[in-house]
């Protein structure tokens, strides 16, 4: 409860004041300031307290409560600073017989703090807490119930069920509010007790009926947590979780939205953002209802509302992220502020609508709050820069803003630059570049360079960049050189202007490795245009040992070679020096490159020319640092930390903390529990191929090894190590006997490929028409996610993958290509050996019925966990069969 706990009982360096030391002295918390007494003896003091408390416990005299208050305060003040006052536990409990609510609260605080570490003692408190749970005063009932649930002692849970049950039915909303959260606390102490008592059902009832909005909100929070955690093991729970997203529940909550506190509104809005409306009328209704939430002073409410708006419009158009260009029609007759007379709603309209409220949030409130909002604005600007191109002045930096804010703004300015505003933006950036704040100046120069690479008004920008070089500030020169290099790679036509200026820079003034490397690259690339390039390179090569960066030395080798090929007589000396130094370089890459050049030159100079100095194609686009998949994922996690960190939540959060409705099947960083013993055994198993049908898992395990019986069974290329063969030689015969009689049937039952998890179809005639998939199925990631959230799991089973498959699965991409051959398309993949995760989808050839697959492959156990969701439940089995067959044939071709 309070700060003190074991770790605080020992002195810690975080409190350098020297006053708040636990064992020896206290801090100036209360009137009885122990600090003032250098010989403060906590033991004596505590036993003194114990005595006094005991005296007061039985007293009914006037003013007892006041003296108790003083004593309790002293106890809690000791507790806060870390003195162990657990020895007065029983006295505190005895004194708790009071009607004074301040005393009671202090007592609860004390008990809540020590119960966890003194489970035996806490039994003492159960009695009085239970008694208080039946008090007349609802405040005391609530407080007692909260304290009871906060004890967090597992063997006391039986005492919780009764009070919680009556708390949920209490006539007072404060008590129900506490009880709803209490259920969640109980769930975390003992989930089975909570489930056995059927509390979630009660919570659901309360959520849908309670007149008090905070009770409703607490029930919602508790249910979200409980169902999400339960959903991993129970289908019922995942159904319940989906019920929270059903239309009746969503509408019920939305209709009460203004009753909720601003914080509870955030929770409701987050839930609503996951709701998928069935038609555009619904979208309008919801957006009109929530429109005024955008004018809320609380930034969290505004962002939550913005998320709803973005998600709602997203669900209607798959071109949302492509910005303007597509309209979708809304037929209803609504009088909403978002609607223009033609009843069109455009994603652009949504952006236009949310822009002003977000900008207001950025400029009001504390710097911290405005940073949080600005991060989200940043995300939107990066997604649809064109929509913000007239707002660029809002992204100008103020001199007193923290660097983390300025950095975001610079990126936004870079993004929104276009033909009409580039001149002004670059002018502004140049002001920052002259700034005395060095990190800021560097970022600004980089921003100018990025804008230049975006192809707007390159002419003017090149001039500005070259002016930077004349500023003669080392860091400015360094940043600019790097940029000029990138610029030349994209616009070689500017080489003449640039080289004239770059040629004047003394390499002695350039120290930063990246800048030096850039300069050297230009010396090599434009050796013909720079008069003294060979001599500059020569002096650099001669001072080889002074160059500490391997990157620079690598560039130097290449530049010297290029220069040599163009101006051999002048560069010969430099080349000799560089190759000699390079060959004896301790750095592997430098050494290898020197050796390579040396041999190349020895072999044939013309070949060296072709290798080192081929005509170059200008770079058209520099690769984006973040994949669009990652960006979409961050966008999907709007209004969360993912936006601030600029990475999806799976990169910084463990699975159980990703929020109740996070797209929980995240990729990468997968932790698929401890391997079961069975998995370890089966890890040695060699899976057979398609034709190895109808064997049970255990039979298959036996059936590996060489097979030369001429049966339908054809072994995969096996591990031929001798002991393995020997140990299986005998059992193999047995298993083959079992296999043979069934082999003919196998070929007909193509649908039922591995025979895993579902019954063998005995009569081929009864099998349904074969499932055919659409070779050119398309599904965008957002639709996938929405479907994935909506649909129940229709099949969940274990599959397997052949060792050849495992061998081929060095990267997820290998499997993607393979599955594509079976018309099963991948929408997302990730992970590292041994755990890979894939999301696939497929569509029926005849109709637009979609199958969604989550497939987790453990390459060390050759197992695959497969979860299938399908629009058409009926055909999901057929699809599973198809999927399994495709999976098991992976690596066989």
């Amino acid at each position: 409860m309070a700060p003190p706990d074991q770790s605080h009982r020992s002195p810690s360096p975080s409190q350098p004041s020297g006053t708040a030391r636990a064992e020896s002295n206290g801090t100036g918390n209360s009137n009885s300031n122990p600090k003032s007494n250098p010989n403060f003896d906590s033991k004596g003091e505590v036993s003194d307290l114990k005595m006094q408390l005991r005296q007061l416990a039985g007293s009914r005299a006037q003013g007892t409560d006041d003296s108790k208050r003083e004593l309790f305060k002293k106890v809690i003040s000791y507790m806060t600073i870390g003195i162990d006052v657990s020895s007065v536990f029983s006295e505190m409990v005895m004194c708790s017989a009071t009607s004074d609510i301040v005393l009671k609260k202090m007592c609860y605080l004390y008990v809540g703090n020590y119960a966890r570490y003194n489970p035996d003692l806490s039994l003492l408190t159960i009695n009085f807490l239970q008694r208080d749970c039946k008090d007349e005063d609802p405040m005391i009932r609530g407080l007692a119930l909260r304290s009871l649930c906060t004890l967090r002692v597992a063997n006391l849970v039986e005492y919780l069920v009764g009070p919680l049950g009556s708390g949920l039915k209490d006539g007072n909303s404060y008590v129900r509010m506490v009880a709803a959260v209490g259920v969640l606390k109980l769930y975390h102490i003992s989930s089975s007790t909570c489930m056995d008592a059927d509390f979630p059902v009660t919570l659901k009832h309360l959520m849908l009926n309670d007149p008090d909005a905070q009770v409703v909100a607490n029930c919602l929070c508790a249910l979200q947590e409980i169902w999400s955690l339960e959903a991993t093991t129970s289908d019922e729970a995942s159904r319940e979780r989906e019920v929270l997203l059903s239309k009746p529940v969503i509408y019920y909550l939305l209709n009460r939205i203004k009753e909720f506190s601003e914080w509870a509104q955030c929770i409701v809005l987050e839930l609503v953002s996951k709701y998928v409306p069935t038609d555009s009328n619904e979208i309008f209704d919801i957006m009109n209802l929530l429109e005024d939430r955008l004018q809320h002073a609380n930034g969290a409410v505004v962002l939550a509302t913005v998320k709803v708006f973005l998600q709602l419009t997203l669900s209607m158009t798959d071109t949302h992220q492509q910005g303007p260009g597509k309209l979708f029609i809304v037929q209803g007759q609504h009088q909403g502020p978002l609607q223009d007379p033609q009843h069109y709603l455009h994603p652009v309209q949504v952006y236009e609508r949310i822009k002003a409220p977000l900008l207001t949030q950025v400029s009001s409130g504390s710097p911290e709050q405005s940073y949080a909002v600005l991060s989200h604005l940043h995300l939107l600007v990066m997604r649809a820069p064109i929509l913000f191109s007239t707002d660029y002045k809002h992204f100008y930096c103020q001199y007193n803003e923290p660097f983390y804010v300025k950095k975001l703004k610079l990126e936004m300015l870079t993004a929104v630059a276009n033909e009409s505003n580039t001149y002004e933006i670059v002018t502004e950036l140049c002001e920052y570049a002259a700034n005395v704040d060095i990190p800021m100046a560097r970022e600004s120069i980089r921003a100018v360079g990025k804008i230049a690479l975006q192809q707007y008004d390159v002419n003017a920008i090149v001039d500005r960049l070259l002016q930077f070089l004349e500023m003669e500030k080392d860091y400015v020169t360094a940043e600019t050189l790097v940029l000029v290099k990138d610029l030349l790679r994209k616009y070689p036509q500017w080489s003449h202007d640039c080289i004239a200026v770059v040629g004047n820079i003394s390499s002695k003034n350039v120290q930063e490795p990246k800048a030096k490397a850039a300069l050297i690259w230009m010396l090599g690339e434009y050796a013909q245009d720079m008069q003294d390039a060979p001599y500059v390179l020569e002096s650099l090569a001669e001072n080889w040992d002074d160059e500490h960066s391997a990157e620079v030395r690598l560039h130097l080798l290449t530049a010297v070679l290029k220069c040599f090929l163009r101006r051999p007589p002048e560069t010969q000396k430099a080349l000799g020096a560089a190759l000699a130094a390079g060959l004896s370089d301790f750095h592997q890459d430098v050494h290898d490159r020197a050796l390579f050049y040396y041999r190349l030159l020895q072999y044939k100079v013309s070949v060296a020319e072709r290798v080192a100095n081929p005509p170059k194609q200008a770079v058209s686009v520099f690769a984006d640092t973040q994949s669009s998949e990652i960006k979409d994922r961050i966008f999907d996690e709007f209004n969360s930390l993912a936006v601030v960190y600029q990475k999806p939540s799976y990169m910084f959060t463990d699975k159980e903390h990703r929020g109740p409705f996070a797209f929980s099947e995240e990729l990468g960083n997968l932790s698929i529990g401890a391997e079961s013993a069975e998995n370890i055994v089966s890890a040695q198993r060699v899976e057979a191929n398609d034709q190895d049908l109808l064997l049970s898992t255990s039979e298959k395990e036996e059936s590996r090894g060489p097979s030369n019986n001429g049966s339908a069974y054809s072994a995969p290329s096996y591990d031929s190590s001798a002991p393995l063969v020997a140990s299986h030689a005998q059992s193999e015969l047995v298993s083959l006997d079992q296999t043979l009689p069934q082999a003919p049937q196998a070929s007909s039952a193509f649908d039922d490929l591995l025979g895993l998890g579902f019954a063998v179809t005995p009569a081929p005639a009864a099998s349904p028409p074969p499932l055919r998939l659409n070779a050119k199925a398309v599904l965008d990631p957002n639709t996938f996610q929405q479907k994935w959230r909506q649909l129940p799991v229709s099949t969940s089973q274990e599959g397997s993958i052949t060792p050849q498959g495992v061998a081929a699965l060095t990267t997820p991409q290998a499997l993607l290509r393979h599955m594509q051959g079976h018309f099963i398309h991948c929408i997302a993949s990730g992970g590292q050996a041994p755990n890979f995760k894939f999301f696939f989808f497929a569509q029926k050839a005849e109709e637009s019925s979609t199958f969604l697959v989550e497939c987790i492959i453990n390459s060390s156990s050759c197992k695959a966990q497969i979860k299938i969701k399908a629009d058409d439940q009926g055909s999901s089995h057929a699809f599973v069969a198809l999927f399994q067959s495709a999976l098991s044939s992976f690596g066989m071709s």
């Binding site: 909260r146 007149p211 914080w263 002073a297 969290a300 962002l303 949080a372 002045k393 100008y396 959060t653």
Partner: protein, 495 residues
């Protein structure tokens, strides 16, 4: 949901520490403080308000030198947590009157009591001072006002380095005054922050006003309050005319006040706003009823029944922003800054800074500081103030090569560099360099930035025309204070 909440002093001491969920390790306060103190990442020297260490997310806001921190392992909404931290600080201030380490330490039991009601198991329950009053029972122990730094006329607006300053009031919303009864009074502050950039030739490049109407109510019984603003007030500038080339009419001029955008506190009722620009702050019973009657209702599964209109919130008590607004309509800047740099030989130059106050002489600006970075090779600066200058201070900060011109250092003298409207002030600074400047001084120095506070002056011309409080009885006549103040946020002149 959050896992822990704690408040650290500037030295990193735990002042309060509350663990709500027990899923973050106990040493988190220490990890946090070390990380913030020695922040070095991406060339930044200041820790952002949100960061992640080993899977734990740390959120913090700085309030009057104290660090309010929350931790969680969950991927929560950052603006929710940061807003919450700010709100907790405000609630505590409402209760304690003064927010500082001392008042915290004296009232830690009360603070714990508040924290218990504000958050349960990581979920926010309420941050309304009024609601909390019904469930919080400790009486605040007031810190000795004499031990507080003296409240000069301007220092009241100097809390916090940027943006929203606290109101002048440092009394608790709940505690009774020594005299016994509470004084019925209400404060409405119109606080405007100006951001403005002059180009080197004196043109206004960008300008923005970020304003707040902040209210702090000490009225008992939460009566309905009506607040009327300028009738000629329009919101939302149509289309793209932002920063358009309109002639500005100046702050003394007339014409409509055009806000780009604004937002309102939850309790503000805007029914008549469109008609007569009146904001009504209503109790929740009224709000609920109105809500039942109007507004689009989703026709889904549930019908609202009348019983759900029971109040669970009450109108706000304590300090809160009634309305935040943002304006880019051009305005007359309160100060003009002229900078002249003259080279006087190879190793010498003279900087002449001239400031002109463009507002009426009846208004006085104070706490003025003008700063200007000088070339890095500046070794010595000698200053020359205008004849008869009083209370001015000049300094050359050797460490960051910065020129400072402003208020007296000795705070206790209460003598600030004040500027009366309409007046001019000039500073001459002679610079000595250690190397030749190559005629490049303007690229190595500046821009000039300025901070100031102008009480009883507002740039946007947004006004509270009247403040009406529903009468409880004929004799009920609470004190009403309406105050204006304009502050510089980022006031910069390029050279």
């Amino acid at each position: 949901m959050i896992s822990q909440f704690f408040v650290l002093s500037q030295r990193g001491d735990n002042i309060v520490f509350r663990d709500y969920r027990g899923d973050v390790q106990k040493g988190s306060a220490e990890i946090f403080f070390r990380k913030v103190k020695f922040w070095r990442e991406d060339g930044e020297e200041e820790a952002p308000p949100v960061f992640n260490v080993d899977g734990v997310n740390y959120f913090h806001v700085k309030v009057v030198g104290l660090l309010f921190v929350a931790t969680t392992r969950a991927n929560v909404s950052p603006s929710l947590v940061l807003e919450l931290l700010q709100r907790i600080a405000r609630v505590i201030k409402d209760y304690l009157g003064v927010l500082n380490e001392d008042s915290f330490r004296k009232n830690f039991v009360l603070v714990y009591e508040l924290l218990d009601e504000v958050i349960d198991f990581g979920y926010v329950q309420t941050t309304s001072t009024e609601v909390l009053k019904s469930s919080v029972f400790n009486e605040p122990i007031m810190v000795d006002a004499a031990r507080l730094p003296p409240l000069g006329p301007a220092s009241i607006f100097m809390q916090g380095t940027k943006r929203m300053p606290g109101t002048a009031v440092t009394k608790s919303v709940v505690a009774n005054e020594p005299g016994g009864r509470k004084r019925e009074e209400i404060f409405v502050d119109i606080i405007e922050k100006i951001s403005l950039t002059f180009s080197s030739s004196g043109y206004i490049l960008t300008s923005e006003i970020d304003g707040t109407i902040q209210m702090k109510s000490f009225l008992t019984g939460n009566p309905e309050i009506r607040l009327a603003l300028n009738e000629e007030l329009s919101i939302g500038r149509s289309g793209r005319s932002i920063y358009g080339s309109r002639d500005y009419s100046g702050s003394s001029g007339s014409g409509p006040v055009i806000l780009d955008d604004c937002n309102f506190h939850e309790s503000v009722h805007l029914d008549s706003f469109d008609v007569d620009r009146t904001l009504t702050l209503v109790g929740d019973i009224g709000k609920r009823r109105l809500m039942l009657m109007k507004g689009p209702v989703l026709m889904g599964f549930c019908k609202l029944d009348a019983s759900s209109a029971i109040l669970n919130q009450v109108p706000p008590d304590g300090e809160f922003p009634v309305m935040n607004y943002r304006m880019t309509q051009e305005f007359k800047p309160p100060f003009r800054i002229n900078t002249l740099i003259e080279e006087a030989g190879a190793l010498k130059a003279e900087v002449i800074l001239k400031i002109r106050a463009e507002f009426s002489p009846s208004v006085t600006a104070n706490t003025i500081v003008v700063q200007m970075p000088l070339p890095a090779y500046t070794t010595r600066v000698s200053f020359e103030l205008e004849p008869g200058a009083v209370g001015q201070m000049t300094d050359f900060k050797e460490s960051n090569k910065r020129l400072e011109w402003g208020l007296k250092k000795a705070i206790f003298l209460h003598k600030y560099f004040q500027i009366v409207g309409g007046s001019d002030h000039t500073l001459r600074a002679k610079l000595t360099f250690s190397q030749e400047s190559h005629g490049n001084i303007t690229k190595e120095a500046g821009p000039v930035s300025m901070t100031f506070t102008i009480p009883m002056y507002n740039t946007s011309r947004l006004q509270v025309k009247y403040l009406q409080i529903a009468k409880k009885s004929k004799t009920y006549n609470p004190y009403r204070w309406v105050r204006y103040v304009t502050q510089a946020n980022s006031y910069v002149a390029r050279i």
